[in-house]
Amino acid sequence: MERLFKVLRSRKDISDWKVNIVKTSSEELFYVQKKLETNRATDVEDISVTIYVDIDKNRGSSTFTIYPYMDEEEINKKIDENVFAAKFALNPFFEIPSKQDVEIEESKSNLKDRDFKDIIKDVKEAVFEADNYEDGYLSATEIFLYKIDTRIVNSKGIDVSYTSYKGNIETIPSWRKGGEEVELYKMIEFESFIKEDIYSQVKEVLDLSHARSEAVPLKEVKQGTKIILENEEVGQLFNFFASDLTYGRKFQRVNLNEIGDCVQGENITGDKLNLKVVPYYENAIGSRAIDSDGVVLKEVSLIEDGIAKNRYGDYRFGYYLGEKNPKGMVPVIVVSKGNKSIREMEKEPYVRCVRFSGMQLDPFSGFIGGEVRLGFYYDGEKEIPVTGFSISGNIHQLKGSLIYSSEEVTLPRYHGPKYIEIKGMKIM
């Protein structure tokens, strides 16, 4: 690696540069039902280099990959090509971040404490201990453990390194009923191995596949019945508000809200939104202390009581907007919880959407909807599992009436209400 830095420092035709080095080691198991099909391991390295070339008041840049096999001559040749390219990719001048004092906390993951080969056995055991139903089973399971070493270096003195750990389990829970089977999908993601958590998550998805096997097409439902969204779709919905307040959206003139605007519209009949972005939240595996530009990330309050207070995002667009200290790509959205529990939400008729095939939320038009593979419909008397229906609506018309649950959930890039209650969506 020093060979690369030596070359970059020696080049007089480069105004600035940054290097991102990511080394990933993994241990992976692939199961067909409970039978091992493949085991894998990886030791791979990615080195991304961006060079900046200043011409008059403009700055051109080009980003390229350096591979471990490259010698000095090959690196210089690659830089030559990219200096040439950067001269034609000119943009208004922007600074890159300078050295900042930062103490990177050591990862709190317990995956660092033991050999991956031992941990992965325990993960497998936790998964298959939960897979103990007569009619339900995991038709496929993939287990991944990762150790990721990241180093960010630039020509302004930044040189920070950190190590992160994460685990993923892709499960396909299936359930037999009569001659038919149904399945669902669940990716379980974790920062630390906690056997009970994995066990209960696998059990939950198997129970949901059971529910899908019992589900009936949702046919007779009163339009206007409230929709309850949960987990990932709630995080996706709040990301709609956060992403509108990125520097990039503003600079490109495709933002919906200005600072000081009420992002929930004029008439808020539901809960007021309090949303911030933070670099770290426990068990949110998307957490990171520094972004890919080397900006040391801090908490930013974006929306307070529905009012847009700040922007965040890509350093360059922040610089263009005149931000003195652009805040960088802070990764985790945190939303204040509401006062209404799911039990209260479920006191009147509802359709709770548990598994979408993929909920759509258009960042501009505000269209929200999709096909629901498993939901629960309560008609005021009893709750039944339902399937084979779609919901649709427009977030611009719904955003003032959203009710947030008092229960919370942590996802890879979100912490906040686990459920949202929405009125006024079409159900078909």
Partner: protein
């Protein structure tokens, strides 16, 4: 041109196979080197990056008599050769407890095959300057069309793939290219934003650029038209699908369900429908890297199996699925050249390549005239497979209303198609006489493992639930 780096590692890979053969009953090495650029000119900035497909490294596959093991690494050279061998043995070793229950893979076939394949780009690679100038004209052309176009972008994506595959009996290399030119426009009216896009996807810079350049005004006008789009009144309608949506149906609604690693996992409803009617007699469906020339056209797959053209549905009857090598071993079938990896860092799965319906005899004008009240569905947004239960989730960017055989001018956006796959396929009543395959897509397996794919076909007339 074939990667000089892979060429320089060829003999080392052969040495690696012969070294490991002493301990394993089957060994193969796949080397991948993908280069290329992504040049993006937008209203906000110009950027030059390596292509997102970039990668350079190796994966070794081993059979231990019971299961399959793999190790991915970034480089092999004379200095680290012994260390790589040691890593492969240590890191792919597996404890007895984990081998308590395992699949029965049998023996991997390894026919003698030594060949080099090459498909060069049809024309000269433009310089960065030429590319940026041409992209800037597209971006400026979109803006010039209307003041309401507040953002415009033009993107060139060029990638060149080199791969080597070495086992005891196979020694294969390949090199091929593909080009996408993409344009995008965002129109704004008040606080209402709508976007449109267009793509040129060929093994030619000139053809890819020309397609997008010729249609600048159409792309800008579409964004403006969409400003006045409404949500569709949910219901069941007669539909006509343009080739992009035809491809979406072929790919998402049916294609994933015939990926035979799904058969192995008991995840595919289609395994119970082999040699049975699953679609209208008008339906013929293909998949294969050799089925047409598009973005997923290669010469051999990541298992070292030669590319094929697989006829999946003929006259509405499901004939067969597509398969990677390890799944074929478990099923006792023959692999179809569909073993693909996101990169050398990831596992190979059965993946689609170029997937499309075949054209028949109808004229598009006659198809439109035949609609009493329905929609022409256009431009893929996204889709999600449901191979076990055959539910459809296909999202179209927009639909144009047809009443009494004529377009009314009304546009709905977006449009979500839903329902049961065989119901949709059996409702196909007209198929147009020309096919278009669009080579600009990416496909995931579940929510990961992204690979380039193409899909398409003719215009179809069918009936479906829209919302």
């Amino acid at each position: 041109m074939y990667s000089s780096y892979l060429k320089s590692r060829h003999d080392l890979c052969k040495k690696l196979v012969s070294t490991l053969e002493k301990d394993y009953e089957y060994v193969s090495v796949l080397g991948k080197h993908v280069t290329g650029s992504q040049i993006r000119v937008t209203s906000a900035a110009t950027a030059v990056n390596d292509t997102a497909e970039k990668q350079c490294g190796f994966v070794v596959k081993l059979f231990n008599g019971k299961t399959c093991a793999e190790y991915s690494f970034s480089d092999i050279n004379e200095d680290n050769f012994d260390e790589i061998v040691k890593n492969i043995k240590e890191k792919t070793s597996i404890s007895k407890e984990l081998l308590d229950e395992h699949v029965n893979l049998g023996k991997m076939s390894d026919e003698k095959l030594v060949k080099d394949f090459q498909r060069e780009v049809e024309d000269k690679v433009p310089s960065v300057q030429e590319a940026i100038e041409r992209l800037t004209k597209i971006k400026d052309g979109l803006h010039a069309y209307s003041d309401k176009i507040v953002q415009a972008a033009a993107i060139l994506i060029y990638y060149e793939t080199s791969a080597l595959f070495i086992s005891k009996n196979k020694d294969l290399t390949q090199n091929y290219t593909w080009i996408n030119v993409i344009s995008m426009a965002v129109a704004k009216e008040g606080n209402n934003f709508k976007s449109s896009r267009n793509v040129g996807a060929y093994n030619s810079f000139e053809k890819s650029f020309k397609k997008v350049e010729d249609e600048i005004n159409d792309t800008a006008q579409l964004a403006l038209d969409l400003l006045h789009s409404t949500l569709i009144e949910p219901g069941v309608y007669d539909i006509i699908t343009e080739p992009s949506i035809t491809g979406l149906i072929a790919h998402e609604a049916f294609g994933h369900g015939v990926e035979m690693d799904m058969f192995v996992k008991n995840r595919a409803k289609s395994m119970h429908y082999l040699n049975k009617e699953v679609a209208s007699p008008l339906v013929e469906m293909h998949d294969g890297a050799a089925a047409t020339l598009s973005s997923a056209s290669y010469f051999f797959d990541d298992d070292g199996v030669l590319a094929q053209d697989t006829l999946i549905i003929k006259d509405g009857i499901l004939l067969r699925g597509i398969s990677d090598a390890v799944s074929a071993l478990q099923l006792g079938s023959v692999p179809t050249g569909n073993g693909r990896r996101e990169s050398y860092k990831r596992k190979a799965y059965t993946r689609m390549t170029n997937t499309f319906f075949s054209p028949k005899a109808d004229k598009v004008e006659d198809m439109i005239k035949s609609i009493k009240h329905g929609y022409l569905l256009c431009q893929t947004s996204n889709g999600m497979e449901d191979p076990k239960n055959w539910n459809i989730q296909c999202v179209c960017e927009y639909g144009r209303e047809i009443k009494d055989g004529k377009f009314t001018g009304k546009i709905v956006s977006p449009v979500v198609m839903s329902g049961y796959v065989p119901d949709l396929l059996k409702s196909i009543s007209m198929v147009s006489d020309e096919k278009v395959v669009i080579g600009s897509g990416h496909c995931g397996k579940g929510y990961k493992e992204w690979v380039t794919v193409s899909d398409g076909g003719p215009y179809l007339k069918a009936r479906c639930k829209l919302g």
